[in-house]
């Protein structure tokens, strides 16, 4: 009989999004979650390693649940994960979120200012919610860490 050990980490994978402001928000929000909001349990991977990397990198989503964070409806992170690695446990489409939040301001992809960082923080919180639900559903062998003050 084999026992399934629960993963201790959650993979949060951002699309690359160099062309779009929402892509910059995606990358920065993932870094915020890794560095500030859920450090120690969040791991990430450079997305293009799926094609450029070795089989170890392609095994990524088989070893840990993955949350895909995409800048737009093209869903590159989600679809690449599903294509090369496995199902995602959660997905975020930032353009759809911005629509939902009524944001239609012009955003910069190269020089994020106050508004872009505020939105990045909000997206980071959406990622945190998804990580915490995975923990609550018993998908991870860990407990949510105490959140740092904003």
């Amino acid at each position: 009989m084999t026992m399934r050990t629960k993963p201790k980490f959650v993979g949060v994978l951002s699309c690359s999004g160099e062309e779009e402001p929402e892509g910059t928000i995606a990358r920065n929000a993932v870094r915020l979650v890794m560095e500030k909001y859920r450090p120690g349990i969040t791991v990430s991977l450079c997305l293009p390693l799926y094609l450029a990397g070795d089989s170890g990198e392609r095994e990524f989503a088989k070893l840990a649940p993955v949350i895909a964070v995409d800048g737009c409806e093209k869903a590159c992170a989600k679809l690449s994960t599903e294509k090369y690695s496995g199902k995602v446990s959660g997905a975020i489409d930032i353009r759809a979120l911005l629509r939902e939040w009524g944001v239609d301001d012009h955003l910069s992809r190269s020089r994020p200012g106050e508004l872009e960082w505020e939105l990045t923080e909000r997206v980071a919180q959406e990622i945190v919610k998804k990580i915490d639900s995975l923990i609550q559903e018993g998908e991870l062998a860990t407990k949510p860490e105490k959140e740092e003050a904003n």
């Binding site: 991977l45 450079c46 293009p48 390693l49 450029a52 679809l79 690449s80």
Partner: protein, 137 residues
């Protein structure tokens, strides 16, 4: 037929400050130094084998800027149908300019910004040479 462009495609590194430098150098080139001639695209579209993105690679000139020796941008461009005309690694510039060490992924710091400037100026010159049909450095 639309005029050929130069697509500067940085890798999508999220864990290394060198990748952040590559991305910022890309933006400096395509938005400020050569806005009429150069553009960028989401590398992830190539990872996903998006036909539109692959066509852009095949029909235009491409510069790949990688954060590290894994060369994700160069390899994904090659997989789209042709090698990039110019390819660089930020880590090679860092070896040459040891005094310019980017600070962190989210904030590359003052030295990182100097490195961005150095790389983007060199890139813009190389792209100009490429567009004039001359030899690359």
């Amino acid at each position: 037929m639309p005029e050929r462009k130069v697509y500067v495609i940085p890798c999508s590194g999220i864990g290394k400050a060198s990748a952040s430098v590559g991305r910022q150098a890309t933006y400096r080139v395509v938005e400020e130094l050569l806005p009429e001639k150069a553009d960028t695209m989401c590398l992830a579209l190539l990872t996903l084998e998006d036909p539109g993105a692959q066509e852009k690679v095949r029909e235009n000139w491409v510069v790949a800027i990688d954060g590290c020796a894994k060369d994700c941008a160069r390899k994904n461009v090659e997989a789209a149908g042709k090698p990039p005309e110019i390819a660089h690694r930020v880590q090679d510039y860092m070896k040459k300019h040891k005094n310019l060490k980017p600070q962190a992924v989210l904030d590359i710091g003052e030295e990182g910004k100097k490195l961005v400037e150095l790389i983007s100026q060199e890139l813009a010159e190389e792209i100009d040479v490429l567009l004039k049909g001359g030899e690359r450095k």
